[in-house]
Amino acid sequence: MRKYWSFFKMRLMAGLQYRAAALAGMSTQFVWGAMEILLYRAFWLEHPERFPMGMEALSSYIWLQQAFLTLFALWNWEHDILEAVKTGSVAYELLRPGDLYSMWMARSAANRLARASLRMVPVIAVSALIPAPWGLRLRISPAAFGVFLASAALMVLVVCAYSLLVYALTFYLTDPNGIMVVSVAAADLLGGAVVPLPFLPEGLRRFAELTPFASMQNVPLRLFSGDIPLSQAPAALGLQVFWAAALILAGYLLTRNGLRRAVILGG
């Protein structure tokens, strides 16, 4: 376990080097968040009675979404891993003392955390200063915050496990691009990026909430904003645990089997 932990720390430090790029990216994050809130504001002012969640909760949801974007966005693929599998340089990684799947997991989680930690602090700090109901509401009970942290950790696991499943499939396919585009689109739609899940039509929302994509950004963001009350948290977290376990198992088996059949050419 210790070697994966130090590998994780190494990756985290490498990721924290690109500070200027993160700062430049943040300005767009503010505009994106503000435009999104202005849009929902128009709907809210016209039809407040048909709003499925409170405006304050929605604003918190949107700002946190901008703050953590690089943490959960599925399009944040590890292109190095994909290349390694495609070109066969994955052979070098096999020489390392450690399990390939766990190493990939440590690496994806570290890169995501590094990218997000640079962006999230300014976004959270500024959006918390915006007056209610348009800003990020930071008042949250310690218990709820603890549940949020647990759910966020599970989210990172689910996102990484899903990406690893796609990398593992690369052993079997020549071109993983098809799965990648479809996954990203499905995750946007069913995970609450296109519109937050409460805004979906009833039938679709029920279906979406069961998919692994809803175990990504949807659960922690809605927990933090108070849209999912604490009483319903165990069910939501339970589903996250289930998806994390299922995806890790599937990815692990596929990787092991893929490595067994893989033939690496050249010498």
């Binding site: 790029a21 430049a24 990216g25 300005s27 767009t28 505009v31 994106w32 435009m35 202005l38 849009l39 504001r41 128009a42 709907f43 016209e46 039809h47 048909r50 499925p52 071109d175 691009n177 098809g178 585009v181 479809v182 990203v184 689109a185 946007d188 739609l189 296109v194 519109v195 805004f199 979906l200 039509p201």
Partner: protein
């Protein structure tokens, strides 16, 4: 002009060489923009209207913006990805050739996959027209065409600014995305929906509302006829863009060979 078509055919043929990957990226583009439109559909399903607009009217609005950005991104890709041309020192080569620089950068790169989006825009437009978003007259059809063409020109101006800034920063600035990628996403609603400050910025500073919000008022019979002429006025925006580009070129220093 003949030269331009020659380049056009080269880029299209090279894209078609890898046919499977060409269609895959078309599919990827389509899924992204379809998701954007689905967000409109879901919200309209729940709220029925916003700012007095109905779903077919919003579909018309989004198809105009989508068509304009797709045209610009397809044909002005060279400026969109200009930092690459600069960092690979291809710009020196362009400067010694006896053709205008803008023309040559346009020829450097094109993105045929954007045609998939153009197709989606056409489908949405056809649906909007059939659902009676607008009471048509010949003048209104003309205004619609102007909106798309002038919209593409304004986006081209945005790319030009982004490229000109590259002369000073060498890196491409993500900030310019606010005015290139942003409107493709947020142009799904007439900009007036976002409130007056946003509308004013997009009217006088980055004149995207002139090709979208204002002429739409005329198309939907919510404003006077002279709003229909505003897309042509937006072309004035290209003058400062061009000046900035020339300033950038003068500032350019080759890294040598």
């Amino acid at each position: 002009m003949k030269l331009y078509f020659k380049f056009l055919s080269i880029h299209f043929r090279s894209a078609m060489t890898y046919r499977a990957s060409f269609f895959l990226s078309c599919l990827g583009q389509l899924l992204i923009t379809t998701n954007v439109f689905l967000s409109v559909v879901f919200l309209m399903d729940r709220f029925a209207s916003v700012g007095g607009y109905t779903l077919p009217q919003l579909a018309l609005c989004f198809s105009v913006i989508l068509a304009a950005t797709s045209l610009a991104e397809c044909f002005a890709r060279g400026f969109d990805a200009f930092s690459r041309i600069l960092s690979q020192a291809q710009f020196d080569r362009l400067m010694v050739r006896p053709r205008s620089l803008v023309f040559q950068v346009l020829c450097q790169d094109m993105r045929p996959t954007m045609l998939a989006r153009l197709l989606q825009a056409a489908v949405m437009l056809a649906w909007a027209v059939r659902s009676g978003a607008v009471a048509w007259t010949p003048a209104k059809a003309l205004v619609l065409a102007l909106m798309i063409l002038c919209g593409a020109a304004v986006f081209f101006g945005m790319f030009l600014i982004g490229a000109a800034l590259c002369f000073f920063t060498l890196e491409s600035l993500e900030v310019i995305n606010i005015f290139t990628d942003g409107p493709r996403e947020y142009g799904k609603y007439p900009f007036g929906v976002y409130g007056k400050p946003v509308l004013m910025v997009l009217t006088f500073l980055a004149p995207l509302a002139l090709v979208q919000h204002w002429p739409l008022q005329y198309l939907f019979d919510r404003g006077p006829a002279w709003y229909g002429v505003l897309p042509v006025v937006s072309l004035v925006f290209l003058i400062p863009c061009g000046l900035l580009w020339r300033l950038g070129v003068r500032h350019y220093r080759s890294t040598g060979s």
